[in-house]
């Protein structure tokens, strides 16, 4: 009977549905890799470690809002783009809720990943089964430890005293709330921890790279160099007996910054730098010209371009130097965007080829006080060619030290890849990379950064020469040493010696012997400003020396980019204010993001924020 057939059919269908019940939902992806399996396999564990390395920031991107801001916030440069956060921050238009450049989270994620790696790598059966497995695990673990120390160091530079988390274990995400409320540790505790971690890591790491494939990893030399930087910062006035921070305390009253100056901190810093030098692994990079003669210009240019030359201690292989940095530095007509400007004060800082400082200071109306002895002239145009300039270039750019020509693009110069783009660069209003018709791509200061632009790169054809981004080089160690030694042991000839080694490589005469401690300090800091220009040191240097109040606030000068119709139109070559920056005492540190303050009742905000 038809009716019964149908009923039976339905019942069978129902039964079929239900028989499938047991595994209907069990299609969940249970054969996916779990985090436990990652730590059972070698390649996956190595990938995990690579992931930890990636929290070393690619600082070649100094412009985008997700980039690293320390160059654009310092007095050496101006990022053209008024919709970028650096612009708002320079105007003082930000607060703890702005969440600009929130590296607090970034580095703490790196710290957790590093800790988790150390916690778990020890049971990797595949590595343990291999030859030298245990040693490899020790090495990898030490790399993670060194990375973690460096992440803490980066936090310390940006935010001051931070929270030191448990060393051996990560905190479970579902732990009860009480388990993740911590107060900040004091600055000195942080420094001691970072130093001891670098020391501990160094014990299990090779001194230097044995295999070409290892370049870029943490090793003993890198740990020592990074440690030397941390100790230099710790000895500096901002953190060494800074009474401005007397009330910088936790809620329970614990002082976060020591209140008594301790000269031995400089000694510790000097010793740490000296220890790196004493490894005898590195030499100041020197490059000869076609004729086989030492060429300071080429040396300063190529020290950042030639991968792992004798001076490089630590570098990041993957970076955006071509796609972002060069693109921002290159003038518009050559395919770039003219976005990385150089402030007038940085241009003024470069010494003359005779080693003299051209400008001693500024009058209240912003006009420079010229050092007559230097031979610097600020009016008129040259009538003859010089090794670095053609006739017709403004006199301001004449006879400067070679580092100036390797670092700054000015009107009348050429792009490094002159073969591809032969036009003379004009940054004046109607110039080929000037404001007129430039959309948003023009320098607001009338100068562009030239440093670390490869002469074979061509932005117009997207042909970019890849190279590691240098994060630590011997020149810095020399200058760290000289600076610390001049404080720890004034008169020690090494301070002058290593400063002069930098000057020698820069192609300018040595400093005289008879400088006072204070004079030498100024010259060391000037060398630092010029040698390490646009390498993301300046923001920190002005802060740790408590100079930022003078350098980072007030009127900022450039040339009159709203004027000028030709290369010799004097209306362009005149100092004008392009920006008035706001600096208050709170700007010595970044604010901890407000959302983080809310989440941890014990976490105090930085002073003034």
């Amino acid at each position: 009977m038809q009716f019964k057939t149908i009923i039976n059919g339905l019942l069978i269908a129902l039964a079929l549905c239900c028989s499938a019940c047991s595994d209907f939902f069990n299609q969940v992806p249970d054969d996916r890799m779990t985090i436990d399996e990652v730590f059972q396999r070698r390649l996956e564990s190595e990938q995990y470690l690579a992931n930890v390395y990636n929290y070393i920031r690619d600082e070649s991107d100094q412009t985008l809002s997700q980039g690293t801001p320390f160059m654009g916030l310092s007095d050496e440069s101006d990022i053209t783009y008024t919709n970028h956060n650096t612009y708002l921050m320079n105007l003082g238009n930000w607060n703890a809720s702005s969440d600009y450049y929130n590296f607090w989270r970034h580095y703490y994620v790196g710290i957790r990943s590093a800790t988790y790696f150390m916690e778990n790598i020890g049971r990797n059966s595949e590595i343990l089964a291999g030859e030298g497995g245990e040693a490899l695990i020790r090495k990898y673990s030490a790399e993670a430890r060194a990375l973690r120390a460096e992440f803490y160091a980066c936090l310390l530079k940006q935010y001051g005293p931070v929270i030191l988390l448990p060393e051996e274990q990560v905190i479970a995400p579902d732990a009860p709330m009480e388990e993740f409320s911590f107060p900040r540790n004091s600055y000195d505790e942080c420094v001691d921890f970072i130093v001891s971690e670098f020391d501990k890591a160094a014990q299990d790491l090779p001194l230097w790279y044995e295999d070409p494939l290892d370049y870029g990893r943490m090793n003993k030399a890198v740990c020592m160099a990074l440690k030397a930087r941390v100790l230099l910062y710790a000895a500096s006035p901002l953190w060494n007996g800074n009474t401005d921070y007397a009330n910088f305390r936790n809620k329970d009253g614990k002082a976060l910054v020591n209140q008594t100056y301790d000269a031995t901190k400089w000694k510790r810093a000097a010793d740490a730098a000296k220890a790196v030098m004493d490894l005898n692994l590195f030499n100041l990079y020197k490059r000869n010209n076609d004729k086989g003669e030492f060429d300071p210009y080429l040396s300063h240019q190529y020290v950042l371009l030639e991968a792992y030359n004798s001076e490089i201690i630590f570098a990041r292989k993957t970076n955006a130097l071509g796609a972002t940095w060069e693109w921002r530095c290159i003038p518009r007509f050559a395919g770039g965007t003219s976005g990385n400007g150089v402030t007038q004060s940085q241009v003024d800082a470069y010494q003359m080829s005779n080693g003299e400082v051209p400008i001693l200071g500024y009058n209240s109306d912003g006009t420079p006080v010229i050092n007559e002895a230097s031979g610097y002239v600020e009016s008129g145009f040259s009538t003859t060619d010089t090794p670095f300039t053609e006739a017709g270039v403004w006199n301001m750019y004449l006879n400067r030290e070679p580092r100036f020509y390797a670092s700054v693009t000015f009107t009348g110069s050429y792009v490094p890849n002159k073969a591809a783009h032969s036009a003379k660069i004009g940054l004046f209003f109607n110039g080929n990379t000037g404001k007129n018709n430039g959309a948003n791509n023009f320098s607001r200061t009338g100068h562009l950064i030239r440093k670390n632009v490869h002469p074979n790169s061509n932005q117009a054809t997207s042909n970019r020469v890849a190279r590691p981004l240098v994060l630590m080089r011997l020149a810095e160690i020399y200058l760290n040493y000289a600076e610390a030694l001049n404080e720890a042991d004034p008169g020690n000839p090494d301070a002058l010696k290593y400063t002069n080694l930098i000057r020698e490589r820069a192609g300018i005469p040595a400093l005289p012997d008879e400088l006072t401690q204070s004079e030498l300090r100024d010259r060391i800091l000037l060398e630092r400003r010029l040698e390490l220009a646009f390498e993301r040191h300046r923001w920190f240097d002005t802060r740790r020396h408590k100079q930022a109040g003078q350098t980072d606030g007030g009127k900022f000068w450039g040339l009159d980019i709203d004027a000028g119709t030709s290369f010799t139109d004097p209306s362009f070559y005149k100092r004008v204010v392009f920006e008035e920056r706001v600096f208050t005492a709170k700007n010595y540190l970044f604010p901890i993001p407000q959302s983080e303050i809310e989440k941890d009742p014990q976490l105090v905000q930085n002073p003034g924020w």
Binding site: Q2, P29, E37, N93, N95, A460, E596
Partner: protein, 1010 residues
């Protein structure tokens, strides 16, 4: 509906007229007409108590021989009230049949079935499908204001991208995106966007727990149930409908011309001590317009949009059948021509247009007296052409980024454009970047078998259904990015000199992508419904399961999504007076840990039809019907966003790192924990509904009011309270949120004759207000900073007091950030610490999602004419204006268009304290444009959503071609908007009005029945 029924030739059993011998037979004749006096063919006339009778002829005339003078004749016809008349020796009998008051017999759609409307308890609303026949492609956009309980916004009118965000009774969870209702078409979860309104048989909204509990973990956000039309027995009926429309933007933002831009740019800089950006000569040249290449002055909107576009809609369907089989077949075509300009130079078509072809076929087979098989197949094919590189909202963004004076649209012989990657020539982006063709095919099919088991247990039937749906989408992209140039000057001969700003490709590249999905759905059920005297009993038990696979980018998204469950209902009515109902859903989701997959979602409903009480009889002349309903129950929501299988932790591919000295290199991918495993489950919603229904004024006034309350708990959220220093990659999820939502929805309809004019009024109203009770928010320093206690869509910002008058006032006021001068906005220092900062941010306004949605309409008909208007409005909604283009010179002179309203600004010369903009600035130099009340505006609105006029052509005109009747009509859509907000289309929301505005349409059509 009645009109069609009138034309049905009833299939009746052949009647033999028996004449009683002993009594004198009496011959009786007459005409049966409808209420308009037209003859009704096919009316059945029976002598009461016998099988004897006749039917009326095509003109409604009849003859019948009656033996017994005391006999009573029974006149019956579908859709009309049955009439009984005693003969009493009369020989002619003209009868007027009155259309049936359907409300008593009307059935309503409920979860997995239907119920008699009079005894249903759940809160549901329906809309007549006729009302949804609007000149829009997307059904989803036509619902607001038409059904009580539907709330939402339509943020874009872009063809193919114009989905309104709909919420049933408001937003009750923390993530708007997870508040979408469940949409069922013919019982299967399917999208409704591309259904041809012509094919809709019924459209129902289920709102409360008793209606949605059977859907268990899928029901918390409400359910929309759409059924497509089925055929009815009778000879074939053919219906043809065609409309042709002209569309235009409701409102585009008005932008400043070049001269205004330059002058205000100078002012913005100079008023804060900066230099002038444009020389007087440049401004003069721009004003003169003599050299538009060197001194351009471009209205970018005019370069990319035509004034009008068009749409076209055609549908033809045929239905009919006999007692064995009925059918409904339909084919539809919809086409929309975009409003974008195309360039004659382009060798291809980048017109934004869309063509859609729909077909529907529904068959019902009565395989035996007790067996019914229903087959439904629907499908559509959509073809779209788009500009190659960008979607429309991006191109709108480009218009906002590029000032009118930057460069011309194009040069005489080449394209214009800068080197910038953010200031893009909108004209190039639209017309010079190639084109994309998208086509998608969708097939929806379902077969259902229902077997009556009355022989076994009276009132019992069993039913099984299987559905298979498949969709696929293809996207062919042909793009290029040609060279562009900037004129840098003119040479001695006056010829333009160019700088090539971009080296690109002149030939079209090719790319393709496709995606698809398939879904199996099956259900089996036992239904029972029987009346024992005054007791009506009903029961349902149903099993269903769904298995859906879409193409996903990774393993997790490509795994099938599965759900299954049991639904059950027991309902009881005593004398149609006391009603009780129990519903439950027991179902699960694979998203949760094995022990936590299944949930039980019960609900209880009680009803009291007061008008059926004895004591009500005296007032029944005044109030014909009155009912109270109460329901209470629990529903779930297992939609938890992108995260599936939350109980399993994941390993993510992260950014890796590379090592090596430059010659030998080693690149590693990165790996880390992606998501932490968490023991989570669905959200639950406890819903309570109290409803009241009333019919009065002889059933002409119909009122329905529902009060509702919902407590949503265990809302699936990322744990916001975990501090950043824990270093967790992605904060783990938890069932930590709680939202309470309550409100009222109501509808009414009224019908009246004024003379010969038939008037119909309908209106509805929905108000819903939600409140965050818990959201895992960390402790805030001040209570006003907290989101707890606020609406889920609350805006936060500073409270503006006014504009600073002078520098003394600034000095004596709390310190504000940045460059603050007279004419800048003064903010209130809420915590009194003398500084305006993050601690002074508080809830401002009512948020960008309306709390009130209402609609009302009036239709009048007189003879062959009908005229109707429908209005829709929203209340308790406001927006914050912000971002590039709206903020003058947000990025200095570098980029950013300017609204023409910028001339209304504060200046030292004219320090207007009520100026629209504060003192102009170059870049964001202070907090003027942080979210604050100065730039908040109410966007309450009332729209003339539709204006319809129709004329029914006299039958005589058409009878020769075989048409029964025909109607000409006009529909205007979105014709008028009343709102105090004028800057851009009022529904687009916060920001700067850069979405494709809603469209208005003028449409003419014809509707013919054969």
């Amino acid at each position: 509906m009645l009109k069609f029924l009138r034309r049905i030739v009833l299939i009746t059993t052949c009647l033999s007229v028996q004449v009683a011998a002993q009594l004198p037979a009496q011959k009786l004749a007459g005409a049966v007409t409808d209420e308009k006096g037209e003859g009704l063919p096919g009316v059945s006339i029976l002598i009461k108590g016998t099988q004897t009778g006749t039917i009326t002829d095509t003109k409604g005339l009849y003859e019948i021989v009656v033996a017994d003078p005391a006999a009573v004749l029974v006149y019956s016809f579908i859709g009309y009230q049955q009439q009984e008349l005693a003969i009493r020796n009369r020989t002619t009998f003209d009868v007027v049949l009155i259309p049936q008051d359907q409300s008593l017999e009307e059935v309503v759609v409920v979860g997995f079935g239907t119920q008699k409307k009079i005894t249903s308890i759940g809160a549901q609303t329906t809309v007549r499908p006729e009302e949804l026949k609007l000149p829009v492609r997307n059904l989803n956009t036509a619902l607001m204001g038409r059904l009580s309980g539907v709330m939402g916004v339509q943020r874009s009118g872009e063809p193919g991208n114009d989905n309104a965000e709909l919420f049933i009774r408001g937003i009750a969870t923390l993530d708007r995106g997870l508040s979408q209702p469940l949409i069922l078409v013919d019982g299967v979860e399917r999208p409704m966007n591309d259904i041809d309104p012509e094919d809709i048989g019924s459209f129902t909204l289920l709102k409360d727990a008793s209606a949605t509990a059977v859907y268990g973990v899928r029901g918390a956000n409400g359910v929309i149930i759409i059924t497509t039309k089925r055929g009815t027995a009778g000879r074939p009926k053919i219906r043809v409908r065609y409309t042709e429309g002209v569309t235009a933007f409701t409102k585009l933002p008005e932008l400043a011309d070049g001269v205004t831009y330059m002058e205000l740019s100078n002012e913005a800089s100079a008023t804060r001590g900066g230099s002038l950006n444009y020389t007087p000569e440049a401004i003069a040249q721009t004003r003169a317009g003599s050299d538009p290449y060197m001194y351009p002055n471009v209205d970018w909107y005019a370069t990319i949009f035509n004034k009008n576009a068009s749409n076209r809609n055609a549908n033809m369907n045929i239905s009919g059948g006999n007692e064995v089989a009925t059918y409904y077949l339909s084919a539809g075509y919809y086409s929309e021509q975009g409003i974008l300009k195309t360039d004659a130079l382009a060798k291809y078509n980048s017109k934004l247009n869309l063509d859609r072809y729909n077909f529907t076929s529904n068959l019902t087979l009565n395989a035996s007296k007790t067996t019914r098989i229903e087959l439904g197949v629907q499908g559509n094919i959509t073809n779209r052409t788009l500009p190659g590189a960008e979607d429309m909202s991006t191109i709108f963004g480009y218009v906002m980024a590029i000032p009118s004076v930057f460069h011309p649209v194009k040069y005489p012989d080449r394209l214009a454009g800068s080197t910038s990657t953010v200031i893009i020539n909108p004209y190039n982006a639209l017309t010079q970047r190639g084109y994309r063709t998208l086509w998608s095919n969708r097939l929806f099919s379902n077969i259902r078998l229902t077997q009556q088991l009355d022989d076994w247990v009276p009132g019992l039937n069993v039913s099984g259904m299987f559905s298979f749906d498949a969709t696929n989408n293809h996207n062919n992209t042909r793009t290029k990015n040609p060279d562009r140039y900037l004129a840098i000057g003119r040479n001695e001969n006056g010829e333009l000199e160019y700088e090539r700003t971009f080296i690109g490709t002149e030939y079209l590249g090719f790319g393709t992508s496709s995606s698809g999905s398939r879904q199996f759905y099956s259900e089996a059920s036992l239904n029972y419904s029987r009346t024992f005297g005054t007791h009506e009993v009903g029961g349902l038990i149903l099993y269903n399961q769904r298995d859906y696979i879409g193409t996903g980018g990774d393993l997790i998204t490509s795994l099938p999504q599965r759900a299954r469950g049991i639904a059950s209902r027991l309902n009881y009515a005593y004398a149609s007076r006391y009603l009780a109902e129990v519903n439950f859903g027991y179902n699960g989701s694979e998203n949760f840990a094995p022990g936590r997959r299944y949930g039980f979602f019960p609900s209880l409903g009680l009803g009291w039809v007061t008008s059926e009480e004895q004591f009500f009889e005296p007032v029944k002349d005044v109030i014909q019907f009155m009912k109270f309903r109460f329901t209470h129950g629990r529903v779930g929501n297992s939609t938890i966003g992108g995260r599936r299988f939350a109980y399993i932790g994941t390993v993510a591919n992260t950014t890796g790192y590379a090592f090596g000295n430059g010659q030998s290199n080693l690149n590693y991918d990165g790996r880390d924990i992606g998501e932490y495993a968490v023991d989570v489950t669905w959200e639950t919603a406890v819903k309570t509904n109290l409803g009241f229904e009333l019919m009065t004024l002889r059933n002409k006034l119909n009122v329905q009011v529902d009060l509702f309350k919902e407590n949503r708990e265990g809302i699936f959220l990322r744990r916001d309270a975990l501090p950043g220093f824990l270093g967790i990659q992605q904060a783990p999820y938890g069932n930590v949120g709680i939202v309470h939502n309550k409100g009222i929805d109501a509808s009414m309809s009224y019908e009246a004759f004024i003379g010969k004019v038939h008037l119909q009024f309908q209106g509805n109203f929905t108000y819903a207000k939600n409140r965050v009770v818990a959201n895992d928010e960390p402790q805030k320093d001040y209570p006003w900073m907290s989101r707890i206690g606020q609406k889920t869509t609350q805006s936060f910002g500073y409270e503006a007091i006014g504009l600073f008058r002078d520098s003394t006032q600034i000095l004596n006021s709390p310190v504000q950030t940045g460059d603050v001068r007279p004419g800048d906005i003064q903010f209130r220092d809420l915590n009194g610490d003398g500084v305006i900062d993050q601690f002074d941010i508080k809830p401002i306004g009512k948020g960008a999602y309306p709390e009130i949605i209402y609609g009302f309409g009036l239709t009048g008909s007189y003879k062959n004419f009908t005229l109707g208007a429908f209005f829709q409005g929203a209340g308790n909604v406001d927006i914050i204006m912000k971002d590039e283009g709206f903020v003058p010179f947000q990025a200095g002179s570098e980029r950013g268009n300017l609204f023409s309203v910028a001339t209304d600004r504060w200046t030292p010369e004219n320090p207007n304290p009520n100026a629209f903009y504060p003192r102009l600035s170059f870049g964001l130099v202070n907090d003027n444009y942080k979210d604050n009340t100065w730039f908040m505006r109410s966007t309450n609105y009332l729209r003339l959503k539709t204006l319809q006029a129709g004329y029914e052509l006299p039958d005589s005109w058409f009878s020769k071609v075989g048409a029964k009747n025909a109607r000409l009509f006009f529909i205007g859509y979105n014709l008028l908007t009343f709102s105090s907000f004028k800057l851009w289309d009022v529904e687009l929301g916060s920001g700067r009005g850069t979405n494709y505005p809603n469209m208005k349409t003028f449409s003419l059509g014809i509707d013919v029945n054969f």
